[in-house]
């Protein structure tokens, strides 16, 4: 079957900012894999194409094998289009069948089109395709659930690790665990992949959930890993207190205390400091003793200010939501439910910082400034990626230029406010 993932319109994508500035929603990690991997697996798709915002199409095409933003993929054979925010486990749609549009409120959740009906639809663009499908095809109510906001992905991740562990069907020690180390709980709830090295004096506690250490993971002494936990390929844990419910992508360096957080990949939190109920993008570096609050002193639900709107998350545990390529200085204190925009350069003040920090902000003395500008940030990003043998390409830079423009109004307002405060 042919599957097409999409995640528009932009006002829906914006609910996943700052993580969705540079990636489609289905690339968000939840549990052991990304949302899109779960959808593809659930639907058994052999051929997958993608529609992303035009500004990130070239950069995304460098990352995936399938076609990106190619309208020709809308024509041809039977096709199923699925919104990338859907929870795969709740999706009960046969890949082929009568043509229909599945709606979740006002959102097009999926479109299934039999080849015979493709002629009725406008295949000129994804927007035209979806609009014509809504007009020409019968609409049904979609019974699947979806993620609406980025923190919901983080909050669901621990449960998803348990489900993904079962689905993966792997357990046992295929890597090396050096003695003395200890596994608490059922050994069948632990998987140590080939090439994984667990040094002496490590505790893996699977009493509350499974632990999956992927290929090439290195676990240094005095690390404690509490399940459910997933640690991605080639990540290094440096005496980490990895509390329950963490999902960590590939090639991270992690120390300190981390709880129920998602780290997308290629990010560093090398030193002590607490990260709880956080969602961290790629290529982030959290300086020593960077800490986030994830619980208010009065235990009420955490509010997040996203896109200028205050939103009650309904959860009393939400930490920082940190965009890609952001760096924090030593001793940075992040507020409960803080949104830290991508490409930020954050200097500590000794006090919790403001709840919303725009993308490309150089935060100095608690004030948003232009700093040394975005080109300096790009040079740092290229250096960081180069250290992990990844290229900063013209397509990636063009994508970030578009993000810079997209986020300019919020940032410029904050810069003006900051100048007045500082003068």
């Amino acid at each position: 079957m042919r599957l097409i993932l999409f995640d528009g319109p932009e006002e829906e994508r914006a609910k996943f900012y700052p993580l969705s500035y540079c990636r489609p929603v289905w690339e968000l990690r939840c549990g052991m894999t990304a949302l899109g991997e779960k959808l593809i697996g659930k639907l058994g798709a052999q051929q997958v194409a993608y529609f992303v915002p035009p500004y990130m199409a070239d950069a995304y095409a460098e990352r995936v094998d399938g076609k990106v933003n190619d309208p020709s993929g809308l024509a041809g054979d039977d096709v199923l289009l699925v919104h990338g925010s859907l929870k795969a486990a709740t999706l009960d749609v046969a890949p082929t069948g009568p043509s229909e549009v599945g709606m979740l409120g006002d959102l097009v959740a999926y479109v299934r089109v039999a080849q015979a009906d493709l002629g009725k639809l406008d295949t000129g663009s994804i927007e035209a395709f979806l609009a014509s499908a809504r007009q020409a095809l019968p609409q049904v109510s979609c019974r699947a659930e979806r993620f609406e906001y980025v923190w919901e992905v983080m909050l669901d991740s621990p449960h998803q690790i348990i489900d993904d562990f079962k689905a993966a069907g792997r357990s046992g020690i295929e890597g090396v665990i050096e003695e003395p180390s200890a596994i608490r709980g059922n050994k069948n709830d632990v998987y140590v992949a080939p090439g994984c090295e667990v040094h002496p004096m490590v505790v893996i506690d699977a009493t509350e959930g499974p632990v999956f250490l992927d290929e090439g993971v290195e676990v240094h002494p005095f690390t404690r890993i509490e399940g459910p936990a997933y640690v991605g390929p080639k990540t290094i844990l440096l005496g980490t207190k990895l509390r329950e419910g963490c999902s960590v992508g590939p090639v991270c360096r992690l120390g300190g205390e981390i709880e129920e957080s998602v780290i997308q990949g290629h990010s560093n939190k090398y030193h002590d400091g607490f990260l709880g109920h956080a969602y961290v993008g790629e290529w982030v570096n959290l300086g020593a003793l960077t800490t986030n609050s994830d619980l208010k002193n009065d235990y009420t639900s955490v509010e997040v200010i996203q896109n200028g709107k205050k939103i009650d998350t309904g959860s009393n545990k939400v930490g920082a939501l940190i965009g890609d390529h952001t760096k924090t200085s030593i001793g940075t204190l992040l507020n409960t439910g803080a949104i830290v925009g991508s490409m930020g350069m954050i200097m500590a003040t000794g006090q919790p910082l403001q709840k919303t920090i725009p993308a490309f902000a150089w935060l100095v003395n608690g004030v948003v400034t232009k700093g040394f500008g975005r080109k300096a940030l790009y040079r740092t990003a290229a250096t960081a990626m180069g250290r992990r043998k990844q290229a900063w390409t013209p397509a990636i830079e063009a994508m970030w230029e578009a993000v810079y423009e997209l986020t300019a109004p919020e940032r410029n307002e904050a810069i003006k406010r900051g100048r007045r405060m500082a003068s």
């Binding site: 200097m347 004030v367 040394f372 500082a422 003068s423």
Partner: protein
């Protein structure tokens, strides 16, 4: 605004941001070598000049400015070009 007024306000702003006596700041003063501006303070200086003169300075160009005198020239030229 004439060049002399720009000069006076640049010196006053520099002294305020770097916590110096205005008498310690002259046109030949190098922000880093003579006035002790750290990299973070150079960011604060750019922000302070923008607020003082109600201008937008290109980050890369502004951070090439090394001395108080060259800051005066840079800002004066900027104001003149905005007017023109």
């Amino acid at each position: 605004m004439d060049r002399l007024e720009v000069q006076e306000r640049v010196i006053k702003t520099t002294a305020r941001v770097l916590k110096l006596d205005p008498g310690e700041v002259n046109l030949e003063s190098d922000f880093a070598a003579d006035l002790g501006a750290e990299s973070i303070q150079s960011i604060e200086l750019v922000a302070a000049f923008e607020e003082e003169f109600n201008i937008e300075m290109d980050e890369d160009a502004a951070l090439q400015v090394m001395t108080v005198g060259s800051a005066v020239e840079f800002i004066y030229d900027h104001i003149v070009s905005q007017k023109g």
